[in-house]
């Protein structure tokens, strides 16, 4: 009897123990799965790529704007207001081509006046000639002398007046017109019809001599060049094309960047002075003789150099920089309880070259078959666990 | 007549034993016998690899080591006191729990629980008590007595002994309880009918039929008395207070000194001691087995 009772009691106890045990293990199991999921979710998410072996053509792109080799300003010296402007901006003009006509009326009136005065003088000279003839017949030496003087002075006046008229006449033809002194292109028309101008009226570019620009180029890329070498230059704008340029001047860069305000020679790197400073630059002047180019046009010099033989190509976003140099975040996988776990490891690399998309880094042992982090949802640290 | 029949079929058991023994023997050879044999081999050489045979040189050196002698003495003392104490206490408890008792189950659980306490907790709780700033010293302070550095005093020995007993009493009790179940109740009933008192029953039946279990418990208690090294080591390090410096410390230190020869030699000596002890126990057991045949 007692045995039966106690065995019944025992069975209930066993059942209780089983229930508690399954509860205990159940909770732990649930928690194991749940917490792993939770931790997984809180990890920063990263996007990776594998560096591909190959040589990156390191592109150098330098842009600069053209400036002319020779450009002159044409002035109206008459001070008359322009009446007709024949040239338009961008016109290609021949030597001697009429560009601007100026107001002639003032000059013409003056000429008329002068001619009238000449007429008067001529009339006066007839009188004096007669006087002189009369006096010459006489014996009065003084009178003869006086008459001759008067006639001489009048002749001088006459010739002076004639010269003036001549001058006025040339002025009338010359100064009332602006003609191209050389073949070229009108770069700008400053004159405005009917308004007298004080400064230049037309700016004319000498197309024979062409355009030129200055640019800073990494020394190692420019190493093969000499003055006088030809170089391809790309024009920027709607109709981009390649034109031939010629190097006119090369000099080592002074390093003082304030000297060149214009150009933005850049290796397409995140603005990092250290990097710039690290590269030796050369100042190059290139002349282009292409008629279609205008001053101020942006031109671009594109250079490619194969960076090393043993390089790996990475997305540029993957390479970061700090005080000690360039580094990448690699993904390291360590086996974990539920499959592999991934950790960030920071590794310094040697950057060999870059273009706007990718970076070439020196081949290093650990880079083989390593996933490099390109993007991350959070800032990363060495040793951090991530998911991807 | 009966007896000779038994003997005859026992003799035939050799073949029958093979299937029972084979799995165990295979694994045992691989993981235990070979290492044991190698240890034995090491104890006669001066180096583990390419050593030269030095005969009993290692043994001589070992016995000449005062630290080894100290360790042996301490171990003998500890086990000599600890094992009987533990067995007495656990047997008493097992007998107690084998009777009808209120809240028996709960108390039994309470006694067994120390078994499951992880070493880390044991060490930490011990430290709470015996640390320089520990509870024991706090009590001493309240009694206006000076503090004691328990780990560097003879008190440490008692502390370790307490840990040993506390931890293993449940272990032994389980064994005894299981052992007690193998004694048929009918024996007691017969004895009671024959008018034997409970003390007589204990000596005549319980203890006799418990002999194999007892044999086992003695050996396990001995093994466990060696295992208390783990706690000692975590509490007091590789070089504890003199009295606590046991044979396990010696062996452990020899291991980390790469002195496998001395380690093996010490182990072989220890084994020798245990073999003698066990032969004695086995002999008693045999007598018992013959008794119940």
């Amino acid at each position: 009897m007692e045995v039966l009772l106690s065995s019944g009691k025992r069975n209930t106890r066993k059942r209780i123990v089983v229930v508690i045990a399954s509860l205990f293990f159940g909770i732990l199991l649930f928690w194991t799965l749940f917490s792993n999921m939770l931790i997984g979710l809180t990890l920063p998410r990263v996007v990776t790529e594998a560096p591909t072996p190959g040589s990156l053509d390191v592109n150098f792109q330098g842009t600069s704007s053209l400036r002319p080799v020779l450009e002159v300003e044409l002035f109206n010296h008459s001070g008359e207001k322009p009446t007709e402007i024949l040239a338009r901006e961008g016109d290609v003009v021949q030597k001697g081509q009429l560009l601007v006509r100026y107001d002639r009326t003032a000059k013409e009136q003056q000429l008329e006046l002068e001619q009238n005065a000449l007429q008067k003088l001529k009339l006066g000279s007839k009188q004096l000639q007669d006087d002189y003839k009369l006096a010459a017949r006489g014996e009065d030496v003084a009178a003869i002398e006086a008459a001759r003087n008067a006639l001489e002075s009048l002749k001088l006046d006459l010739s002076a007046q004639e010269k003036r008229i001549q001058m006025l006449q040339t002025e009338l033809t010359d100064r009332t017109e602006l003609r191209a002194p050389f073949a070229g292109r009108v770069t700008s028309v400053l004159a405005i019809e009917n308004i007298p101008s004080n400064g230049a009226d037309i700016r004319l570019l000498d197309t024979e001599r062409g355009m030129q620009f200055d640019i800073r180029i990494p020394a190692d890329m420019a190493a093969e060049w000499m003055e006088g070498d030809a170089i391809k230059v790309r024009t920027l704008g709607k109709e981009s094309r390649l034109v031939e340029g010629r190097i006119t001047k090369m000099e080592a860069d002074s390093g003082n960047e304030s000297n060149m305000p214009e150009e933005s020679a850049a290796m397409n790197i995140p603005a990092s002075e250290e990097r710039q400073a690290a590269k030796e630059m050369v100042q190059v002047q290139i002349r282009i003789t292409d008629k279609s180019l205008r001053a101020g046009n942006r031109v671009q010099v594109e250079l490619t150099q194969s960076a090393g033989g043993d390089t790996l190509i990475l997305s540029r976003k993957a390479v970061h920089q700090d005080r000690n140099g360039f580094y990448v975040f690699a993904v390291q996988s360590r086996p974990g309880p539920l499959g592999n776990q991934f950790y960030v490891s920071k590794n310094y690399v040697t950057v060999i070259g870059e273009d706007d998309q990718s970076t070439a880094i020196a081949q290093e042992f650990w880079l083989e078959e390593t996933e490099i982090i390109v993007e991350s949802s959070e800032p990363l640290e060495d040793g951090q666990r991530v998911r991807y | 007549m009966n007896r000779s029949w038994v003997r005859r079929w026992l003799r035939k058991d050799g073949i029958a034993a093979i299937p029972f023994l084979a799995p165990s023997l295979a694994g045992f050879c691989l993981f235990f016998a070979v290492p044991l044999a190698m240890s034995f081999y090491y104890s006669f050489f001066d180096r583990v690899t390419d050593g030269t045979f030095v005969g009993l040189g290692n043994y001589r050196e070992l016995l000449g080591s005062s630290s080894f002698r100290k360790a042996t003495g301490n171990t003998l003392l500890f086990s000599g006191v600890g094992v009987p104490l533990l067995i007495l206490l656990s047997l008493g408890l097992a007998l107690l729990f084998n009777r009808q008792l209120w809240l028996k189950s709960a108390m039994k659980t309470a006694v067994v629980l120390p078994l499951v306490v992880p070493i880390a907790s044991i060490v930490m709780i011990t430290q709470i008590f015996i640390d320089w700033n520990g509870v024991l010293n706090a009590w001493l302070y309240r009694l206006d007595l000076p503090r004691v550095d328990w780990l560097n005093s003879d008190g440490a020995w008692t502390v370790i002994l307490l840990i040993y007993v506390w931890k293993n009493i449940g272990y032994n009790m389980i064994l005894f309880l299981a052992g007690l179940q193998t004694i048929p109740r009918s024996y007691y009933e017969t004895a009671r009918m024959e008018g034997a008192g409970s003390i007589r029953q204990f000596w005549g039946i319980t203890l006799v039929y418990l002999t194999p279990t007892l044999f086992f418990v003695v050996l396990i208690s001995l093994v466990n008395s060696f295992k208390v090294f783990r706690e000692t080591y975590l509490l007091a390090g590789a070089y504890p207070y003199d009295r606590l410096y046991m044979i396990q410390h010696y062996m452990n230190n020899m291991f980390f000194s790469l002195d496998i020869q001395k380690l093996s030699t010490a182990a072989i000596l220890m084994v020798g001691f245990i073999v003698i002890l066990m032969s004695g126990l086995l002999k008693i057991e045999h007598r018992f087995l013959e008794n119940i045949e």
């Binding site: - | 093979i18 081999y41 583990v48 690899t49």
Partner: protein
């Protein structure tokens, strides 16, 4: 019946046979990882020391196993670099922990120690091993490490002048063998204000002073002036360790297995350290904390461990800020009659397994490691103040040329920006001073079970919990146990 006995005999035979063959020379393959699969089990593999180190056969395919406790990126870099140069050699790096931070409990360290013992004693083990976490003296005593000193001598391509031979020479054992090569080291020095010390008129000679003389000097110095403390030590225990280290031979007689920690010598050390506390000796760890005067203690001498050249300048700059303009470095006290020369602490000590079948390859790789050719670190910066995780790249390298390259980098980089205060110019003159400090270092800082026992027990005295005799007795007991094992 017969079958049973046959069975038992067979089993025992298996036992004995496997036992013997395993115990004999081990050269077999394990998991197919290890090299030389063909080797007579009984052939003596005792390292026959080559008169001249044969250069490794470049055509031989080999895998060098290199074990260490902690992962070190320098080794990884170097291994890959070496593999690239030697396509037929593979380096198998084994480490237990990523960094020591994950092993606060030292469980892994215990594992590393045990595994190494098991491997070495089985005649396997790595070809190269970093000994920093292992008891090197025991390994040497058991003949498990190859004498790299001999390899060095036998190798004509090894250029001694490129290395700090003073460091290597002082790591030789008493028999003249050199079993470990440190890849780097740090310097232990005293610092003081030269001008001030000269003005004080107290005679001193840091080339030869013992601790007693040094402490006497301090006492004289502090007797003269009032506002300056004598010596800023890190704490009592470290001071005791330093003192015990110099007098180690008088405290421990390993040959006769006796210790003299109960002697007046040791008791004197203990008591002196406690007595001098205050005016003469300050303890960085405690006193500075209590007064909150972060820099405010004017002292005559301080002690310093220089891990990097950077620290040298950093320290000098710090002193300058607190008013000492002529900071000079002095040698730490040494035992009586000892050669002049400062203390250094070897780091990343690498040994070659005496039974490695790839010793020439291992030596070649070790040479490569020492040369620092694969060192990636360009310069020292403020982040490199600590040794932690810097490994080889952080500390003074054993290679002179590497050191020169690094310091050159430092000079090139211009003035050092300190964590606080202004930048510090690094001059050739400063570097020369530092050079002489390095060149003169010839005493290795060592550690061991005995010193550890001492360091564990003595704080009880310094904190006033026990008497010096009590502490000395406990130490004496434990050390005696240790020596007599």
């Amino acid at each position: 019946m017969k079958k049973i006995s046959m069975f038992i005999v067979l089993c025992l035979l298996i036992v004995v046979f496997t036992g013997c063959s395993s115990a004999g020379g081990e050269g077999g393959t394990v998991n197919g990882i290890t090299h030389t699969p063909t080797k007579q089990p009984s052939a003596p593999t005792q390292a026959t020391k080559p008169a001249s180190m044969p250069s490794p056969d470049p055509k031989k395919q080999s895998t060098l196993v290199f074990s260490m406790y902690k992962r070190d990126s320098y080794f990884e870099t170097a291994a890959k670099a070496y593999e690239k140069e030697h396509p037929n050699t593979k380096i198998d790096l084994n480490y237990i922990v990523e960094n020591t931070g994950e092993d606060v409990s030292r469980a892994k360290q215990e594992k590393f120690k045990s595994a190494m013992i098991a491997e070495f004693l089985n005649g396997k083990g790595p070809d190269l091993v970093v000994m920093d976490e292992l008891p090197a003296d025991k390994y040497i005593a058991k003949g498990l490490l190859a004498n790299v000193g001999d390899m060095m001598k036998g190798d004509t391509s090894f250029k001694k002048e490129n290395y700090y031979m003073n460091i290597l020479d002082s790591l030789q054992t008493s028999e003249g063998g050199l079993y470990m090569l440190p890849l780097s080291f740090s310097l232990h020095t005293l610092t003081g204000d030269q001008q001030l010390l000269e003005q004080s008129g107290v005679r001193m000679n840091d080339q030869s002073w013992t601790w007693k003389e040094f402490l006497d000097t301090i006492q004289q110095l502090t007797a003269k002036q009032d506002d300056r403390y004598g010596f800023m030590a890190f704490d009592e225990n470290k001071l005791l360790l330093d003192m015990a280290r110099t007098d180690y031979n008088r405290l421990v007689d390993a040959a006769n297995r006796t210790a003299r920690f109960d002697s007046d010598l040791f008791l004197g050390m203990l008591e002196q350290i406690k007595q001098m506390k205050g005016k003469t000796v300050l303890y960085y760890g405690k006193d500075l904390k209590q007064t909150d005067g972060s820099k405010g203690f004017p002292i005559y001498f301080g002690e310093n461990e220089l891990l990097t050249p950077f620290q040298y300048f950093h320290y000098v700059a710090n002193k300058q800020e607190s008013g000492d303009h002529s900071t000079a470095f002095y040698e730490k006290p040494k035992a009586e009659g000892q050669q002049p020369g400062g203390y250094f602490e070897p780091r990343l000590k690498i040994a070659i397994h005496a039974k490695s079948s790839l010793q020439p390859e291992a030596w070649d790789f070790l040479k490569f490691l020492m040369s620092g050719e694969a060192s990636a670190a360009a310069a020292w910066g403020a982040n490199d103040l600590t040794y932690k995780g810097q490994g080889f790249n952080g500390t003074f390298p054993i290679s002179k040329s590497l050191y020169a390259a690094k310091t050159n980098n430092m000079v090139q980089a211009g003035p050092l920006q300190m964590l606080e205060g202004g930048p510090v110019e690094i001059t050739e003159k400063d570097l020369k001073k530092l050079d002489s400090l390095i060149e003169s270092a010839n005493k290795a800082i060592f550690d061991g079970e005995i010193l550890q026992i001492m360091a564990k027990e003595s704080p009880a005295y310094f904190h006033g919990q026990k008497s010096s005799q009590e502490v000395a007795r406990i130490i004496q007991n434990k050390v005696t146990t240790y020596l007599n094992e």
